[in-house]
């Protein structure tokens, strides 16, 4: 689970501009957060919270969140899907995790996300 403050993310956007978020979100994620007037801060917060919540399920030590390797995409139905790439995929495999499910919710000042790992079958057999 993770929670992200709108105030913090809005400050990052104001101080560093949209390009700053290319360090955390891949282009398709940024596109999902974009409206006709620019990046939607609440959507950004939700995406960031989802990545952090997903990372926590990997239970790795002494590693930073590989922001661009945990990709949270919007499915056709509107719900978020987690795509584990590169380093995140290797961390998940090492932890016996096949997939991660995540749910995002937001209100005025905060976005929260809850993630749960789906373990690989052979791990439990």
């Amino acid at each position: 689970m993770d929670i992200v403050s709108v105030t913090r993310v809005r400050r990052l956007l104001d101080e560093h501009g949209e390009d700053f978020f290319t360090r955390m979100l891949v282009p398709s994620e940024l596109a999902d957060c974009r409206t006709s007037t620019g990046l939607d801060v609440l959507s950004l917060c939700g995406r960031i919270a989802a990545k952090e919540a997903a990372f926590k399920t990997l239970r790795v030590r002494n590693r930073f969140l590989p922001w661009l390797d945990i990709v949270v995409q919007r499915a056709d139905g509107g719900w978020p899907l987690v795509d584990l790439r590169g380093a995140a995929g290797r961390m998940a495999a090492a932890s016996g995790i096949a997939q991660i499910t995540v749910s995002i919710s937001h209100d005025v000042d905060y976005a929260v996300a809850v993630a749960a790992p789906i373990l690989t079958e052979h791990r439990n057999s």
Partner: protein, 84 residues
């Protein structure tokens, strides 16, 4: 006159203190992560700051946690005098 190394690490310390006004100073060996002075979100901005202050590009994928765990480690890894 301050050295570029002292100036660089002082800027890093000032950045952290500004975001944690409850702290007047940060010891060189204080664990910044365990003490939540740097979290996942601020880490991205922190790396951005380190790049600007040190003048070096930092690959977040290969960055080791221990290299930014304390101010002493940051000074060693990013501001140690380089022989040209």
């Amino acid at each position: 006159m301050t050295s570029p190394i002292a100036d660089g690490i002082d800027q890093v310390k000032a950045w952290i203190v500004k975001r944690h006004p409850d702290r007047e100073d940060i010891a060189g060996d204080l664990d910044l992560i365990e003490n939540r002075l740097i979290d996942s979100l601020s880490f991205v901005e922190f790396v951005f700051l380190l790049e600007q202050v040190s003048g070096r590009s930092i690959d977040m994928d290969t960055l080791e946690v221990d290299s930014i765990r304390t101010l002493d480690a940051i000074e060693r890894h990013f501001f140690a005098a380089r022989v040209s």
